[in-house]
Amino acid sequence: MSLPLLPTGVVGSYSMPGWLERLKTEYILRRISRLELDEIHDTAVKAAIKDQEVAGVDIITDGELRRDNLIDYFAERLPGVQIDRASKKFYYDFYESSVRGRMPVAALGIVPDFKFLAANTDRAAKFCVTGPHSLVKRIRNEFYKSEEEFALDIARVMNLELKELVRAGLKYLQIDEPYYSGFPEDLPWGVKTINTLVEGVDARITLHICYGNRYGKPTWAGNYQYLFPAILDAKVHQLSLEFARRGGEDLDLFKEFSGRFEIGVGVIDVKDHEVETPDLVAERIRKAAASVPAEKLFVLPDCGCLHLPQSVAFAKLQSMVRGAQIVRKELKG
């Protein structure tokens, strides 16, 4: 499946409908069954896929609509992680979770979710996982000597699952590490765990690093200077970064290393409900192309569209696609 110049995609999540939020919470409160929730998820995911296709997006995800948040989808599946089911009342809250012994190796069981995505689109499909650094910031560690040791063990367990995903046909994998920006001092071991996580995983791998998107707003502030030089050791193909909201000032940081990574440039501000015009998107892409060769650019939102209303998310994706088309035309003369 070949991609055009300046391929477009989403960063994992798509708009979470209000009705789905309510139903997820109903499930947490034991008012609907798992079977019913699974059927609801299937329907919602199909709709999210369809929206992305109609908007013209090249690389599709399942909108992450099966997930409650960044953490719990994995915390519930990681072997050896204990969950306090009574600890959350609203679906978006985090479960209280902890690890009290060495994590055994076992399947996480996320492959069927990827297969569902792949079966429902003819386009390139991307699957996203939360990275070990972010997971150790939320799962209470009562066993390992350090966060680094804990994260490396998560990476070791998840690595097998990623290989299973590849066996199931996965070509595009994304790892989300939004907590890097809040804990820049962790970056050297954070990168080490990424490399453990992706060892032998034969896919195009993107590392997504933003400034947080919890409740649709940033959790941290700053610039990407902190990524260097540690990030250069990351064995990934692409960095997906947040530029639309913050302005593209630190795009220059990547000029020097433009051959090292593809850059997934954020051209849609997902923390603002105002829909960008295609011209504005095109301007942002041109700005990125001044620092990174166009053939190494992917066109993306800053982060997931989870907190945007569906109509806004859809309109933003349409603008993103049209903006990419404008620049493509210019580049082809």
């Binding site: 809040g182 804990f183 947080g212 919890r214 409740y215 707003k217 940033p218 959790t219 941290w220």
Partner: protein, 481 residues
């Protein structure tokens, strides 16, 4: 008949039992229509504010789909009621409470029934702030003297000193993580005289120099107020900090509108005694059913005659004079003395007639922008089945339009009178009252906390510990992780 003893002051049990005994005696004497009695709720209150919008005994009718229901309420204020007038007042009220009784004591209405937030009383409130110096000259005392402590808690020196220390510590912890931004924004909304801002900046500069941390030169202080005149006054107060200060016209209800370029950038936002003076609606739960409160302002005809005679205004010109006052100010009367005198006595005489309008659900409520009914459904479901509470419409709107300005590690501090739990509405009167020429309302903190939570913020309250007996609370809002 159902009797609700809402708020009773210690030592007033005798007058409470007096109300009950008088009601029974009226019943015995056949002075109460039995058809009215079956649908009657009698509320016994103690109004905290000596100056307020209620009669000693008032009647509230209930409206559903434009039809008056048999259900009605009588409210008795134990603070205002005189024992010798009790029987007559109750009898009059009860006889006006039935669905077919439309007669009310002679009143001159200043508006039609309207949700409280849009009542004409808020125009009175606005002109008070607009012509504050004129009111202060006429009353012979500054506004702060009207406050319970004779001064604003916002100016308390120890409170400001502690706030400076907390802010410095906040910056220090952010710097330890190497996340301190190059420019540190502070915003004060409703900056008043600028006294608090000056003391805060003086204190911060001194502490920063003592610690040698170099934060002060990075500060960008935004003084926000809706009044240009106020901002000019504040410029003088902040002359020692002029290099870092900016003066911005800001609508307290929508600060984001003027400051959207600072989205997620402001490290500290403070407001003192702003929320309690913003328009609000009230909701009533009766047996778990929802009602909106609508009001219409009036002045008793006897008061109209008295005020007009005193200020040599023909009674036929009364309403015209009210509108002149509200639209053009007291200076447009024959003399300033006449204008201000008319204003002060008129305001003192303004009362609110209330009615309860039945609502099917919260969708019908005028909720602040950014608040969905689903945000507060749970809160209301968990509330007691019989309760009256403020929606704090203006405060909530202000809150929802302020938090997007907060830096991810920033803090919003609001010093005001908050009702922290919905259940607290069962104990004590929460407004509206009159404070000089302005309106005062407690703020529904429980509601704000819920709105904050749904938007991803932690909201907690701390008592204002710097003045004994103070009812002020400090609300802290920080981003939830």
């Amino acid at each position: 008949m159902i009797l609700h003893i809402n708020h009773v002051q210690p030592g007033r049990s005798e007058s409470t039992s007096g109300v009950v005994a008088t009601l029974l005696s009226l019943l015995e004497a056949g002075d109460i229509d039995p058809n009215t009695l079956g649908h009657l709720n009698v509320h016994i209150d103690w109004l905290q504010y000596k100056s307020n919008f209620r009669e000693p005994v008032s009647t509230r009718r209930v409206l559903k789909d434009d039809e008056l229901l048999p259900l009605s309420e009588i409210a008795v204020d134990l603070r205002q009621i005189q024992p010798d007038a009790l029987r007559r007042s109750l009898s009059e009220a009860l006889n006006g409470a039935g669905p077919d009784s439309l007669e009310t004591p002679k009143r001159v209405y200043l508006e039609d029934f309207t949700p409280t937030r849009s009542s004409i009383i808020w125009t009175f409130n606005a002109i008070f702030w607009k012509y504050l110096p004129i009111w202060e000259d006429a009353s012979g005392k500054g506004y702060e003297k009207a406050l319970p402590s004779g001064q604003s808690d916002g100016h308390n020196i120890q409170a400001i000193t502690d706030s400076v220390q907390e802010f410095w510590e906040q910056l220090h912890s952010i710097e330890a993580k190497k996340l301190l931004p190059p420019e540190i924004y502070i915003l004060e909304i409703g900056v008043g005289t600028g006294e608090r801002a000056r003391r805060f900046l003086d204190g911060f500069k001194a502490l920063d120099q003592e610690k040698g941390t170099g934060y002060y030169p990075k500060l960008r202080f935004l003084a926000g107020d809706y009044s240009k005149a106020t901002l000019h006054r504040v410029m003088e107060s902040l002359v020692d900090h002029r290099d870092m200060a900016t003066f911005v016209e800001v609508d307290a209800v929508d600060p984001f509108k003027a400051l959207s370029h600072l989205r997620y950038k402001v490290m500290l936002i403070t407001l003192s005694n702003v929320y309690d003076n913003l328009p609000t609606d009230e909701l009533v739960l009766r047996d778990g059913k929802l009602f909106f409160v609508e009001v219409r302002a009036y002045v008793a005809a006897t008061e109209v005659a008295r005020i007009c005679e005193k200020y040599q205004i023909p009674v036929s010109d009364f309403e015209k004079s009210v509108h002149k006052l509200l639209e053009q100010g007291p200076e447009k009367f024959d003399t300033l003395q006449q204008g201000v005198g008319f204003w002060m006595e008129l305001w003192d005489a303004v009362r609110l007639e209330e009615r309860l309008v039945s609502a099917h659900n919260l969708q019908e409520a005028h909720l602040p922008n950014a608040v969905k009914p689903s945000h507060i459904e749970g809160l209301i479901e968990a509330a007691p089945a019989n309760m009256r509470f403020q929606l704090s419409s203006g405060a909530t709107e202000s809150f929802a339009n302020t938090i997007p300005l907060l830096h991810p590690k920033g803090c919003l501090q609001v010093q005001d009178i908050f009702v922290e739990r919905l259940n607290d509405y069962l104990h004590g009167f929460r407004g509206p009252g009159k404070m000089d020429g302005s309106i005062v309302n407690w703020v529904n903190g429980a509601f704000l906390a819920e709105v904050g939570k749904q938007a991803g913020y932690d909201v907690h309250f701390k008592p204002f510990k710097y003045r004994k007996g103070s009812k002020t609370t400090i609300l802290y809002t920080t981003q939830r992780e």
